[in-house]
């Protein structure tokens, strides 16, 4: 199986105070698989993902190689990188409630993004988005597109982002804690959409979460981060059944206990799937 | 504490603080510091340039400009500070009461503030001077009467954030008295907010009050005040423009020092008010603060 994304010796530091956030990370994502990055907040998960998109804040620098389908993203100009964002690398944010311009209806962002990458007409975009939104079980898609972000729930906005991703058909999706800000029921629905998304499009995914219950359901491989370093890396099964590192064991013991409630709801899915 | 140490490393902040301290001390001890009587007329020395005896020269009546500047500190800065202190105190009391008790008390007090704040600052001051008559005391009274309302408004917002805090609820639950809670828990945490708000309006108040004296509505001759000195210099603006220079620069230096310190204070104390989570409201409050404070510098 080929690697769609390869990260080699990624170093991330804050140029203002010379603090190193991620000292030296190397990992890869296989074609069509899902890599979960777990770790507590502040462990460098988000910064790593933003580094792949080259979207960290101005003061934060990075070095190393990031190869997407063999092309080194670090060597691209900002212009070329911008064209990859959205089209090939798609990001889904945690704070769906704040991810859309609050002064415009939701459709504006969808329109602008799709025009930027594909140059489609308004009607084409509306039809494609309508289909995609229906496939993620959003009712009245046209109405949703003409609604302001604050009038929709976090779960609905999250699904709008997923629908946009479906239309964009990227090589890899980076989902930064997409379920953390949602209530349990919406979490369940959104995770379900992610699973269907992968099944349907067969695309690769990086899934950041500190929720091991969801990770177990979603991921093929798991990468455990602590204070910027990768402490363990392996298949989901291996990590969950035979954790090597003490930190992983610690995470498993604490987090799984917290997720009993969630798993009870997810239980139904596992049965249906099995 | 660490941030206070940073302030000492900021040379401009230290300079500003020294300017303010020196000015305040000179103002308080004016009779000992000033080389001459500020109202002593020497017609033979009219518009005399600087000399060893009169370091900054003499004005249109031959009075010592330096001495007048030093005596001018009292009304131009110290009295303004007193007015500020008084209006902040009234504003704090009202703001804390309104923010802590909420409900009817809050509604009533805020309606009163609404009425006062619906008169633009300058207009209200002019109205009060119009009724009470021209004079420095009346300007100070007018300022106190108007300013407390918007201090109360802002302090209320600040108090409301803390009044909902768990430790306040806890104190209530274990039966602490309202007054006790306010003094022990609310006032100390709102102090940084209050300090930032009041310091940021100090500079503009100095500018405004000197402006009224400049218009001839404030201090009356022959008393020395910076705005008044500029008013006198304005009469000879075309023949002796240099007379505008010294009092004008004094105001600019003192107000800059105060404004710089106030900005530093804001960074150091970082009050919740300015980085409020309700961004929209926070921003508007902050800009209204600035606007009202500025209203007519």
């Amino acid at each position: 199986m080929t690697n769609i994304l390869e990260v080699k010796n990624l170093k991330i530091w804050d140029s203002r105070n010379e603090r190193v956030i991620v000292p030296n990370s190397s990992f890869h994502v296989k074609q069509g698989s899902c890599l979960a990055i777990v770790g507590e907040s502040g462990s460098g998960k988000s910064v790593t993902c933003k580094a792949i998109m080259r979207l960290n804040k101005a003061g934060i620098r990075q070095s190393g190689d990031i190869l997407l389908r063999g092309i080194n993203l670090m060597e691209l100009s900002e212009q070329e990188m911008r064209k990859k964002r959205g089209k090939q690398l798609c990001m889904i944010l945690q704070s769906s409630m704040r991810a859309f311009d609050p002064s415009c209806v939701v459709g504006v962002h969808l329109q602008e993004t799709l025009v930027e990458h594909f140059g489609w007409s308004r009607e084409e975009i509306t039809t494609k988005m309508k289909n995609a939104m229906e496939s993620v079980r959003l009712k009245n898609p046209i109405e949703v597109m003409n609604t302001y972000p604050h009038q929709l729930s976090g779960g609905m906005l999250q699904r709008v982002m997923i629908a946009l991703t479906i239309v964009l058909e990227p090589d890899i999706i980076i989902a930064d804690e997409p379920t953390t800000a949602l209530d349990t029921v919406s979490q369940f629905e959104v995770v379900e959409q992610f699973r269907q998304l992968r099944e349907r499009m067969g695309c690769s995914m990086i899934f950041i979460s500190h929720d091991l219950g969801i990770v177990k359901l979603m991921a093929d491989d798991v990468l455990v981060m602590k204070e910027g370093e990768i402490v363990e890396n392996g298949t989901t099964q291996a990590i969950f059944s035979e954790p090597q590192h003490t930190y992983t064991r610690y995470l498993l013991s604490t987090k799984l206990a917290l997720n009993q409630h969630f798993k009870r709801i997810m239980g139904g899915v596992s049965v249906a799937e099995g | 504490m660490k941030q206070l140490q940073n302030v000492w490393q900021d040379k401009v902040a230290v300079l500003s603080l020294s300017i303010i301290t020196v000015t305040t001390v000179a103002g308080i001890f004016a009779p000992f510091v000033a080389p001459h009587d500020p109202e002593e007329v020497h017609m033979e020395l009219r518009f005399a340039s600087a000399s060893w005896e009169y370091l900054l020269g003499n004005d249109h009546l031959g009075r010592c400009i330096l001495s007048r500047l030093i005596y001018g500190i009292r009304p131009s800065m110290l009295w303004v500070f007193a007015a500020l202190l008084l209006s902040v105190s009234i504003g704090s009391i009202v703001g804390v009461l309104a923010g802590y008790f909420r409900g009817k008390t809050d509604a009533f007090l805020m309606r009163v503030c609404d009425v006062i704040l619906s008169f633009p600052g300058y207009v209200m001051t002019l109205a009060i001077i119009g009724i009470l008559g021209v004079g420095f005391e009346n300007i100070i009274i007018a300022f106190v009467l108007i300013k407390w309302a918007w201090f109360a408004r802002i302090i209320r917002t600040s108090v409301m954030q803390y009044a909902e805090a768990d430790y306040v609820k806890f104190s209530k639950a274990i039966g602490a008295s309202n007054l006790g809670i306010m003094i022990r828990h609310i006032v100390p945490v709102t102090l940084p907010d209050i300090a930032v708000i009041s310091s940021s309006s100090f500079g503009s108040m100095i500018l405004q009050i000197s402006g009224f004296s400049f218009l001839g509505l404030g201090i009356q001759a022959p008393e020395a005040e910076w705005g008044m000195m500029l008013n006198e210099a304005r009469e000879v603006m075309f023949s002796r423009p240099e007379m505008m220079l010294v009092p004008g620069l004094t105001i600019v230096i003192v107000v800059s020092a105060i404004n710089y310190l106030s900005d530093t204070l804001q960074v150091v104390l970082d009050p919740k008010l300015m980085t409020s989570s309700h961004k929209l409201q926070g921003l508007e409050t902050a800009s209204v603060v600035k606007l009202e404070g500025k209203a007519g510098a």
């Binding site: 990001m91 991810a99 946009l164 | 619906s118 008559g133 404004n259 508007e284 510098a297």
Partner: protein, 310 residues
């Protein structure tokens, strides 16, 4: 939206009533007897009790307070604010033109302030921390610490006396506007510029900007989104700039001898011309409320969140 406007207007009406009452009551707090002031300003040498009583009756002072208030409100609604104690002319014939002159000055200045603060605010926010930002902020800091009348005097001395380019005072041609507008703009643009800058900066850190960037939108488009959101908050504040400046041109008008409200009000205060002071306060307070209402409505129209909230 319609119901919002109705609600907002209904809130303003009691405020206007309270303000008219306060304004009317104000004058009665004065230690001076209006009748005495009238007689003094008419230059009558000996004031007898009989004369005082006559004048009081002429001013309607013998009627009960509430009757006088109601009469006053009714006539105010017809723009009849009584006669000046000093000149004897109707107040509106003096206040009306002065109001127009001040309004002209205010509108031109507000326009200059809006343009300047948006241009500088956006330029500084986009270059935050760089030299453009630092120098503009430094200059703006120095200018806000300067008394406006002093700045005005310096400008008059340089442009009108030394270079003899612009008129020193009065309101003759467009040239007369230049210096007063510069002074007002300089003393106010600083605050609005800071507001735009900080609002731009806080918007830049919003997640919608990150998501727009992650979706591959161009920087130009993203900047437009940031600008749109920053200006939305600012529009209502800019709207309020009009009444604030309207009420605070006093110093500038006096130094440039602008025939507006500021000059008139100071003159009336010095001569204790109560009807003019009263009308001046009322007119400005009402326009303050009016602009406040309008700016709230504009704000709600632009900001869907606010509209739904109320």
């Amino acid at each position: 939206m319609g119901s919002y406007i109705t609600k907002r207007l209904l809130i303003s009406i009691p405020l206007v009533l309270v303000i008219s009452f306060v304004t009317f009551g104000f004058i009665h707090l004065s230690p001076l007897d209006p009748a005495e002031v009238v007689l003094h300003s008419q230059g009558i040498p000996t004031i007898t009790d009989e004369l005082l009583a006559q004048t009081r009756a002429k001013l309607g002072m013998d009627q009960p307070f509430l009757t006088r208030y109601l009469n006053w409100v009714v006539s105010c609604l017809q723009l009849d604010f009584g006669d000046s104690y000093v000149t004897g002319k109707p107040v509106w014939s003096m206040l009306g033109p002065a109001f127009l002159h001040t309004l002209k000055l205010t509108l031109v200045s507000t326009f200059a302030i809006v343009v300047l603060s948006i241009v500088l605010g956006v330029a500084c926010a986009l270059n935050a921390g760089k030299w453009v930002d630092k120098s503009v902020r430094g200059i703006s800091f120095c200018l806000t610490s300067m008394p406006s009348y002093w700045l005005a005097a310096l400008l008059i001395w340089y442009f009108s006396v030394k270079l003899d380019l612009l008129p020193t005072s009065g309101m003759e041609s467009y040239k007369s506007y230049i210096l007063p507008v510069i002074v007002i703009t300089i003393s106010y643009a600083g605050i609005y510029f800071r507001m735009i800058r900080s609002s731009m900066l806080s918007n830049m850190n919003e997640d919608y900007v990150l998501y727009a960037r992650a979706s591959g939108l161009t920087e130009k488009k993203i900047t437009m989104h940031i600008l749109r959101n920053s200006l939305q908050v600012s529009i209502s504040v800019f709207c309020m700039a009009v009444p604030i400046i309207l009420g605070s041109t006093v110093v500038v008008e006096n130094i440039f001898a602008w025939p507006g409200l500021g000059t008139l009000s100071v003159k009336s205060i010095l001569s204790r011309d109560f009807p003019i002071i009263q009308a001046y306060v009322l007119v400005l307070a009402v326009s303050f409320i009016l602009f406040n209402t309008v700016s709230d409505i504009i704000n709600a129209a632009l900001n869907p969140k606010l509209r739904d909230g109320l």
